[in-house]
Symmetry: C2
Subunit: 212 residues, 2 copies
């Protein structure tokens, strides 16, 4: 597995999609697939498929047979989930959106484990989300020093994210799944940040509908 | 406003981010900004900022002064929101995620208007989401023929999305905000589809945390 570090962000962002498609193929009993066929199902090109898989060096399609679905899945699982250890994550902000997205972390299928949830609202504290008790944000410091979460899911407004992200980085958070409108990778370039700006996504859909 | 159609998808996807940053600048009383300063705040480069704005032809920065924040906002509002008419949208699937994301459509700030919500569950039908009554999916056809929604927000599982998207396209839906794991732009290349694959986003965060 040669060139991990060389995979560019666009390639990395495509890995989960390959994973999803190959899982679906496996579930329907398909054991091998050509780059052309996989590309056509996924709406991309055979050459992109081959280039993407080449980044990870150790899977080769065979002329006339194609790639082994099992080998590709094995490779992708190694890349996406490592040795299977789940990354401990905390949710900050347990409003509607926080509750909805915490489901993606509460199940182990994406490689994460929800270990705590925090909010400022007294109405939320003490309730549960996906079986996890909601704590007051005041407990954040103590909790992180004891349990060492690595990932924070930010489902709070821009101002709250701005105030809190420095503290989270200091407390050892190295990855953010960021739903706030605060682009924290600008002040903290050392952290890994996956932004989901839903408003932006919707506005760019609007642009395309109005202008294309 | 020359080159709309020439703006590439990556440029289009950056427009909402410019809009957010410029709104924040305007709110703090700043009237002009250089490409360099804007780029540094946004974590990009001055040359990208200039290139992006050049795509839309009619805004030029002035040497030593920079861009007029107001002019840029005027341009971006025109691009993102057209003449201000809200795009009529329906929500399909009123589970936790559907309820959470419908907020982005129910407020007018993103350029959309939620006009109906549908679900298959009898537990959901008759309840409301953001003040809109939830209808049974059986009413979809009649509703669309009468009210002509243009956009569908898909918050349902892959199988449901697969079954329903052909019907939605036939009923005149031309834009999708797609949270399902069904890549409907493959079978329906004529529609405009903005995919939000939350599981994919989380998995690629996991990859970067495990491999970078």
């Amino acid at each position: 597995m040669a060139n991990y570090a060389k995979a560019s962000l666009p390639v990395i962002k495509r890995l989960p999609k390959y994973y999803r498609y190959l899982k679906a193929l496996q579930a329907s009993g398909i054991t091998s697939i050509s780059s052309r066929e996989l590309a056509s199902q996924m709406g991309t090109t055979a050459s992109q498929v081959r280039q993407d898989f080449n980044c990870f060096g150790d899977v080769n399609g065979r002329q006339g047979i194609g790639y082994s679905v099992e080998s590709l899945l094995h490779m992708l699982e190694g890349l996406l989930f490592g040795n299977g250890e789940l990354l401990p994550a905390i949710l900050i902000g347990t409003g509607r959106l926080g509750k909805a997205v915490s489901r993606f972390i509460a199940t182990s299928t994406n490689g994460f484990r929800l270990i705590a949830a925090f909010d400022v609202s007294e109405d939320e504290v003490g309730k549960t989300v996906n079986g996890i008790q909601i704590r007051h944000i005041n407990e954040l410091d103590t909790f992180c020093r004891q349990y060492h979460p690595q990932v924070a899911v930010l489902c709070l407004p821009r101002e709250g994210a701005m105030q809190l992200s420095g503290t989270l980085v200091e407390l050892g958070i190295r990855g953010f799944w960021n739903f706030s409108h605060y682009d924290l990778s600008v002040p903290y370039p050392q952290v890994i940040c996956e932004n989901v700006h839903l408003g932006d996504s919707l506005m760019s859909l609007g642009y395309r509908l109005r202008n294309e």
